[in-house]
């Protein structure tokens, strides 16, 4: 089966600067993939190229097996691209704005009002439909932008930093929207700097730095790879420094670092060695109240895969 989106050997240069360098990855239907990397890594460039807004110097992109370069018009019907900034039309209401794009994608007179109302209610903008576009707050603009992107019911969504500028509540709601869309079978590629945001919803991530893909895969596989050793999280009622001192004396403990009010421990040993570790702590008069596997999150992944150099 062909993947919904397949990027193959994508290269884009701006003069001397190689913004994207031989990037390859794919996204399947019903999947949510995060696209992460430092500022200037080439995320927006890649996404714009997928959306037919830019032309690669080398490589090609396939949507459902069809080349984006050869069939740009078809691509535009199949994907919805949400840019990082919504452009606003002067003297236009939200409803008129959506109606314009609904006309543009060729929705007929009977279907149009219904479809516009659907996306308005999906993004919870129904009450604002007579507001002028240029009077919207950042969060409302993001919603409107998403509504516009969904008008033609695309199979693949390319979202460039959609959660930027949303308040915490809106962010949670946005996450629900994304999940709902994926459950409808849409493939979603979403770039964001707010990694905690992504780790909740993503099936996989693509990590890009200085134009090159440094890691790519499903979240659970990547987090497994991040370290060959067991990662544990321990919290005791006693102050952290006491726990730290105790851990330093216990064999098998390779690395420790503080996180929240406990310690993340990189530990070498089988399960009975781990049980021994807990026992050793208790023997040292420490009272553990949290002791569990530490799930590495995207933030850690990101930090361990990228070097943080700006391009």
């Amino acid at each position: 089966m062909t993947a919904l989106l397949e990027v193959r050997g994508l290269t884009r240069k701006f003069g001397q600067l190689t913004a994207v360098n031989n990037a390859s990855f794919s996204v399947g239907a019903g999947e949510i993939w995060g696209f992460i990397g430092p500022n200037g890594a080439g995320k927006t460039t890649t996404m714009r190229t997928i959306a037919t807004l830019d032309i690669p110097d080398q490589g090609d992109i396939f949507i459902e097996g069809r080349s984006v370069l050869v069939e740009p018009q078809r691509t535009r019907q199949r994907i919805g691209f949400m840019p990082d900034a919504l452009g606003t039309y002067a003297d236009t209401t939200i409803y008129e704005y959506l109606d314009f794009f609904a006309r543009a994608v060729g929705l007929s007179q009977e279907l149009r009002p219904q479809r516009v109302r659907e996306v308005l209610s999906f993004t919870d903008l129904g009450k604002l439909c007579d507001r002028m576009m240029d009077s919207l707050s950042k969060g409302m603009s993001q919603r409107l932008c998403l509504a516009k992107t969904l008008l033609h019911d695309p199979a693949l969504l390319i979202l460039d930093e959609p959660a930027a500028g949303l308040d915490p509540r809106a962010r949670v709601e946005f996450r629900e929207l994304i999940r709902a869309l994926a459950s409808q079978g849409k493939g979603i590629l979403i770039s964001s700097h707010i990694l905690s945001e992504l780790s909740e919803v993503c099936d996989g991530v693509v990590v890009i730095e200085k134009g090159s893909i440094v890691r790519e895969g499903r979240v659970h596989e990547l987090t497994k790879n991040i370290s060959e050793h067991e990662m544990l999280f321990i919290r005791t009622l006693e102050p952290v420094h006491e726990l730290e001192r105790a851990l330093a004396e216990i064999p098998g403990v390779l690395k420790t670092r503080q996180e929240k009010s406990g310690m993340v421990v990189e530990f070498q040993g089988e399960e009975d060695a781990i049980a021994d570790l807990l026992q050793a702590l208790v023997q040292r008069n420490l009272r553990p109240i949290e002791f569990h596997w530490h799930k590495a999150d995207l933030e850690e992944l990101f930090l361990s895969f990228t070097e943080g150099n700006l391009q």
Binding site: L53, D57, G87, A104, S108
Partner: protein
């Protein structure tokens, strides 16, 4: 009935709807509209109070000229500015990308904007008609003449709106957009001034119809047809510019030179309507011809992927209209554009000069010499730069060469001829060749330079034509392979 409405709804251009709505709500249009109407009223009151007192025969003409002058300003400046702003706002407000992937084809986007401009123009015309027709109440006005002039003004306004859109499409950054806008405004102000001058001359010089009879109407029809063709090609060029923004660098220079040629054309018409002299006509033809040198700038972006994308566009039906595909990357639009702009100065020969409208007479050798020189000096480098082996650096050099070749070659000729009796007449002095062809001496034909430039011109011309033929063959070949891969995909 509802079936009809549905069909209409499907046909209607969304960009047109949006543009009309925004313009009518926007401040710019409303201000311009009310200011124009106020000007019309003031003029009316002024002429009424003066003209009725004098009771002169010509007061109708004066009245019409004033009103028409205001109408020209709105048609040539306000409407094109509106169109230009409508397009450049898309880029400034970040809506350009959304528009490009909205599912609307570039041709439809441009068409929607042009249609909106013409409807707004229609509003102006509608508002001005009562004032303009008042002119008849004051006598001294020839109906046919004034209607023809009015028609040209209206058609011209819509056409320049298309130019405004093109100018906005060519600008990619804010800075270049400001530059473009400034240039465009200067161009349209110049155009309206010369058109006011020309139309005044024609209206005061009553009785065009009785002077030329049927020939006048034939001339009007031919001019309209040429204008339509010209707009058709400009339209194709604009749409192609939206699809291939990478081409902008050379396109911008071509556009600038085209605008210059057009403004010069109107300047020439104004000049000739006051001084109908065939020699002056030929001098104008030569000067406008010189502008076309700029349009032959070869493009320096020829990436593999660009070609692929262009061919993908070609595979879409909308480009299968006559002449359109010439303006795409795969279709050699540089050459097509050059030929088009080469035609502009020769439009002047449609203009009646002295007794016999179609006799070029004095100085026609100068025109031929200029044509040879220009074809030789621009066609040859362009041909060289189109070869597959030409590196970007070499293309850059050839491009520069086109810009400076004429004065450069003439200067070298003068330097070489320093020791001789007549340094300016030394062979290969292109400027001298052209200017002397206007004089009495037979220098033009005897110097040998005429022949030499002629040979180069011929070679370059034929070479460029065969280049177009080759491009067409390549296109056919790739189109065929495109349809093949499509069928593979279907299986």
């Amino acid at each position: 009935m509802s079936r009809f409405l549905q069909a209409l709804d499907r046909k209607i251009n969304p960009v047109f709807v949006k543009e009309i709505r925004q313009s009518l709500r926007g401040r710019f249009f409303r201000t311009a509209f009310f200011m124009a109407l106020a000007a019309a009223w003031i003029t009316t009151l002024f002429v009424l109070s003066n003209g009725l007192r004098n009771g002169e025969q010509t007061s109708g003409q004066w009245f019409f000229l004033w009103q028409h002058g205001i109408y020209i300003l709105t048609s040539f400046i306000v409407i094109p500015q509106l169109a230009n702003r409508g397009m450049s706002a898309e880029r400034e407000e970040n809506t350009f990308d959304a528009l490009m992937i909205s599912g609307l084809s570039p041709a439809r986007i441009v068409m929607g904007k042009v249609l909106a401009a013409s409807v707004l123009q229609g509003l102006f015309l509608f508002a001005f008609l009562p004032f303009l027709s008042l002119g008849f109440a004051f006598f001294g006005l020839d109906l046919a003449t004034s209607l023809i002039i009015l028609l040209f003004t209206t058609v011209g306004g819509t056409g320049f709106a298309l130019f405004g859109i093109l100018a906005a499409c060519l600008a990619k950054t804010r800075a270049s957009n400001n530059l473009m806008q400034g240039m465009f405004t200067i161009g349209t102000v110049g155009l309206s001034m010369s058109w006011i001058g020309f139309s005044s001359a024609v209206i005061m010089d009553l009785g065009l119809v009785s002077l030329f009879g049927g020939e006048l109407f034939a001339g009007v029809a031919v001019t309209l047809l040429l204008w339509y063709l010209f707009l058709y090609w400009t339209f194709a060029f604009t749409a192609a510019t939206l699809t291939h923004p990478e081409e902008n660098a050379s396109a911008r220079i071509r556009f600038a030179s085209l605008l210059l040629s057009l403004a010069a054309l109107l300047g020439a018409i104004t000049h000739l309507s006051f001084v109908p002299d065939p020699e002056i006509l030929n001098i104008w033809v030569v000067s406008i011809l010189l502008f076309t040198m700029l349009t032959h700038i070869p493009s320096i972006t020829e990436e593999d992927t660009l070609g692929r994308r262009a061919l993908a566009d070609l595979s879409m039906k909308k480009w299968r209209r006559p002449g359109m595909s010439l303006f795409l990357k795969g279709g050699n639009r540089g050459v097509a554009f050059f030929l088009l702009s080469l035609g502009i100065p020769f439009l002047l020969y449609l203009f009646p000069v002295s007794s016999s409208p179609f006799s070029p007479s004095v100085g026609f050798e100068g025109v031929i010499a200029a044509l040879f020189v220009i074809l030789a000096l621009t066609g040859t480098p362009s041909l060289l730069s189109s070869r597959a082996s030409a590196s970007p650096r070499r293309r850059m050099f050839l491009r520069l060469f086109i810009l400076v070749s004429l004065p450069f070659i003439s200067l070298i000729s003068i330097l070489l001829g320093m020791g001789t009796k007549d340094p300016f007449g030394f062979p290969l002095n292109a400027i001298h060749l052209i200017t002397s062809a206007f004089g009495e001496e037979d220098y033009a034909y005897t110097s040998g330079a005429f022949g030499l430039f002629g040979i180069f011109a011929l070679v370059a011309f034929i070479g460029n034509l065969s280049r177009m033929k080759k491009a067409r063959q390549e296109r056919k070949f790739i189109l065929r392979s495109l349809t093949l891969t499509k069928q593979d995909g279907e299986d």
